[in-house]
Symmetry: C2
Subunit: 312 residues, 2 copies
Amino acid sequence: MKSVIGIDIGGTITKIGIVSKKADILKKTSFRTKDYKDFSSYIDKIHSSIVNINNNIEILGIGIGAPNASKNGTIETPANLNWSGNLNLVKTLKKKINLPVFLSNDANCAAIGEMMYGKAKNLKDFIVITLGTGLGSGIVSNGKLIEGYDGFAAELGHFSINNSEGRLTGLGVKSGLEAYVSATGIKRTIMYMLSKYMNDSIFRGIAFNDLHGEDITKAAENNDFIAIKAYEYTGKILGKSLANFVTFSQPEAIILTGGLAHSGKWILNPTIKSFNKNLLPFYQNKVKILLSGLEDKDSAILGSAALVWKNI
Amino acid sequence: MKSVIGIDIGGTITKIGIVSKKADILKKTSFRTKDYKDFSSYIDKIHSSIVNINNNIEILGIGIGAPNASKNGTIETPANLNWSGNLNLVKTLKKKINLPVFLSNDANCAAIGEMMYGKAKNLKDFIVITLGTGLGSGIVSNGKLIEGYDGFAAELGHFSINNSEGRLTGLGVKSGLEAYVSATGIKRTIMYMLSKYMNDSIFRGIAFNDLHGEDITKAAENNDFIAIKAYEYTGKILGKSLANFVTFSQPEAIILTGGLAHSGKWILNPTIKSFNKNLLPFYQNKVKILLSGLEDKDSAILGSAALVWKNI
């Protein structure tokens, strides 16, 4: 059976899967992106991972979703990856593996994945927000991805929200949205809440580097004051920002996916509350906020694979 | 010669023109929108204005640009017009004049006008910002207008900028962009600067209601401290907001038009300075801020007329 390879390059984890036309993931593997200090050893690892999982499946092409992907097959100035400058990903990988390689922004891949298999199946106007190491976004208007002049549209993680705290993002953007709303952002908010309040919390005994998203959800379920405050704060900012984004492309739905979205109602409820409060009268009851229905861990692979099916 | 009618419904002035296929304006007229307290007498005035200027030109259709125009021929909850509720503009006008009538957002018409005749002739990704009574916007991505689910995309005047002053827009949006950046916004900023500073200024002797945009430009040219501060403040906010908007659709150019844009360098220079300061590294030198090259007073008529040529 002819298949394709989907690769999702995340700030923390790189995921690789062999995907059939029917969106079955036949094989998959993953490794830590941050373990590879230079880009060429990282490409070697992608290559060896593909060789390891593929026993005689005919592969038609490789689709890759990555942060800061340009229209020219490069990754430019990635904020959440170890490597700097312009990385010639498509060309370098093609030298190792003689197959067609397609690259797009990781959140654009997520949007294509939602459109092919997920909650956006029948929608023409929607936004996908990926809440991983950073905040990514894919915007579809009238059934087409908004790509921009050279592929750098939909970088809403770097949208400046003018928050009084003034947190800096990895790119140095003051009050950039992803500094607040992302898997990393909510960890920063836990620290902020520990600074602001003196209430007891499990997080008084956990260092920033040892803190994981699942811990925050668990703590909230155990009624931890700091965890609940952190979700409320994050949802308030996300909801207001999404209400603002509606003035741009008026989507029918905004779909949340990625690590932070795994907390379910904890992020969803305060986000919807703040969204409805800030939405303009003429948008009321026209825009849904949804959690991705796809199994998150694989939707990024499916989206990247869909790039190949769309292009070959 | 077969021609069309273009109508621009502005918060202050309604402009009507008979336009040839080659974009020559054969006849034109205008009247004050605010003089008509009820919507049906306003429609009567549009009708009589058309009858007055048309002596035997064959008209193929009517194109109308208006704030808060929906995809269904209505104007919904207009913030800058006298009338409230859902106004069935297309249906009401068709009862008076038996011609095809096309309605779109006024700023969308301006964007179509720029694409057909103006600075956006060869561009596929651009934003037009109209700085009139309010702030309107038309966003083109990959050669197509972003219309949104039911035609209410690109309402960037209501985008909340989280400014510490917290001005309210006509719709009650806190820190909505048009409360700062529009012909009305800069008048409010003159008042703000009069509150903030005690410097001499011509504006100490002019009441808000007697203040016009041209007065502010003239005062700035005469080195009036308050006028110069007002342009700097307005440009700073506009430039930062435009830099934020680039993260959404990555346009190749942003074109400013309407009353406030008539001040030329006074608004353009501080806007460009603030824009470049706030633009992300990977957008630097890729996005131009331009003033509309069209004679502003007629570009709205041309854009509305273009709606007809596009659709018949």
